[in-house]
Amino acid sequence: MSLVRRLARAREAGILVMLVLFSLVVGLIEPRFLSGETVRIVLLAIPLIMVAAMGEMMVLLARHVDLSIGSILGFSAIAAGMVFRDHPEWPLFIGFAVAILSGAALGFVNGLIVTLFRLPSIIVTLGTLSLYRGLLFILSGSKQIDPNDIPEPIIRMAQTSPFGIPWIVIIAFAVALATWLFLTFTQVGRQIYAIGSNPGAAPLRGIRVVPVTILVFTLSGALAGLAGIIYAARFGYVNPGITGVGFEFTVIAAVVIGGVSINGGIGSVAGTMLGVLFLGAVQVALPILGVSGFWQNAIYGGIILIALVIDRTVRAGGIRGLLARGTA
């Protein structure tokens, strides 16, 4: 336990150093990057990723992957948007509930298929990625939810709150805090780590792997659903063909760069938050540096691979260990 914790700490420190170095380098090239305005932009850009990343992190901790969160986000955003559009007289929380519950339901289905048939989650969620996108097209009748149909208070969530910081930022950090409390102080939370560290041994320790795994996928779906509301707030409209497409890769990149191991069992909320922050900083730095948006995907892919190698190196006990085992 203490070793895992120390590893996690070291990783968090590493990401923090990377983040600071990155900001300094960008700041050297383009001093405008180091301004309060940039902080504001980054803070506005990250809630969407952060909320979904907390869910994906838990999935990864349990040694699974959820590729369908982009489609779930789209589905939930459309479902909530339709409630807002077709029933403007209903209280707003119903829209929230619809988004979170529909996300949870789709996540539950993922978890059910993965555990019931013991299938690799990556293939199952590759299938549901397409399936859920198809369903959301059917649900929406291929119609966009226009800015007019998103209630004013929802859009204001991305702009203000009584505390001066936009609501979506507060929600994102609240979700992170809740995830941390859940993983640290509940038995189920700790069991997620145990399952990921050693799925075979988990049942021997009295952990009911199936329900916990299903719960993890359900939570991931619910958080993707909440991210759907944040999407509607930040961008002001929801399009069935655009909303959430490719989002899974951004989130996975954020989570693995945050030091969450793809092999399960290792990772922390703090690390994931730093990973999200790093990705947010990259996203904002590109246009400020005047780098073409075409680079964005290549950079995300590169980041994932580098994070994988770092992960492997740490596990093998440094580069020497990696090479020793690698050539064995």
Partner: protein, 333 residues
């Protein structure tokens, strides 16, 4: 050689199945938009539907899920197999569909490029239906922004992708206008940003514009995704008084910003009329009442007379429509 023979056999087979197409049969038109779920193309579809109701043609529409270069091809082939007479399409690529178009035309199917043309590949389609005189888009947008900022100050452009053909033509015209017309001498174009028609990227790019250029007075965004993102960013940053946003957008997408005062005015044309004109043109050409050559006049009751231009290009209207607080209530698309 062999290929032609098989086409003949296929064509024969198709006509046998459909019960031999003779002149009295209604003209079958299919429209393939770039992708499904895009409200802009829904208006074009509405135009087609209304046109076909009046003309008695058979209209269907099918669309791929993504606007990727090849996604329309299977749909196109399937429609040809179904024996449609006219394929109207908003092509996702200026050249990737050439081979399929050629084969369709050799079977007598009419190919119309709707809403955008295929620059450099015009001889692979029969005609193009464009919404407006594209040479006017650039100057018109510059004037709209200029009138809002007193023809003075730093301005920026937020476009789609760096290689978007239509946008690049308009941007070149904007630059030209700003340089040559003394009226705009005090307006300075500081940068062109590209949001790739992606809401997230467009938003980040628009935010970067505000951060990078504190003296910015206006943003021109000649793309529907970009202009909505720019308006949203300006509203969020509470800079609507300082930075004016203009561009090309659809009324439904922009209504909120017009009504709450974030945006004073934006422009577009009528996608509905494109569908309408395309339907009249297609039926006329198929029935032989319209000759598809430069100078021919096509008459559409709701639109008036449209003259076929060079390279078989038809434009539904000459000038852009400006939408503002006064008239936005009249439009729903």
């Amino acid at each position: 050689m062999l290929r032609n023979k098989w086409m003949l056999v296929a064509a024969l087979g198709a006509s046998l199945l459909t019960g031999a197409a003779y002149a009295a049969d209604p003209v079958k038109i299919v429209y393939i938009p770039k992708n499904t779920g895009n409200p802009y193309f829904d208006s074009i579809i509405k135009g087609f539907e209304d046109g076909c109701k009046k003309l008695g043609c058979e209209f269907t529409t099918v669309a791929p899920a993504t606007a990727e270069a090849t996604s329309q091809i299977p749909f196109l082939t399937a429609q040809l197999q179904r024996g449609v007479d006219v394929v109207a399409i908003s092509p996702n690529s200026p050249d990737a569909l050439n081979q399929v178009f050629d084969r369709a035309r050799s079977k007598g199917t009419i190919i119309l490029s709707v809403n955008s043309d295929m620059p450099g590949n015009e001889d692979h389609r029969d005609a193009a239906i464009l919404p407006v005189d594209f040479t006017k888009t650039g100057p018109s947008q510059v004037e709209l922004l200029g009138s809002q900022i007193g023809y003075e100050g730093d301005i920026a452009i937020l476009s789609a992708t760096t290689d978007a053909p239509d946008q690049n033509v308009w941007i070149a015209a904007m630059k030209d206008t700003l340089e040559k017309d003394p009226k705009y001498a005090k307006m300075k174009l500081v940068t062109i940003a590209y949001g790739d028609d992606d809401p997230q990227k467009s938003t980040t790019e628009a935010e970067a514009l505000l951060a990078n250029y504190p003296n910015l007075r206006g943003i021109i965004s000649p793309t529907t995704v970009g202009v909505a993102a720019a308006a949203q960013v300006v509203e969020t940053a509470k800079k609507a008084d300082k930075v004016k946003v203009v561009g090309l957008g659809t009324p439904n997408q922009m209504r909120r910003f017009i009504e709450n005062g974030t945006v004073d005015a934006f422009q577009l044309w009528s996608p509905y009329n494109e569908g309408l004109l395309a339907a009249y043109f297609a039926v006329g050409v198929k029935n032989g009442t319209i000759k598809n050559e430069a100078g021919t006049v096509v008459e559409v009751p709701e639109l008036g007379k449209v003259t076929i231009g060079d390279k078989s290009v038809l434009k539904t209207q000459a000038d852009l429509t400006t939408f503002d607080k006064k008239n936005i209530g009249d439009f729903n698309f």
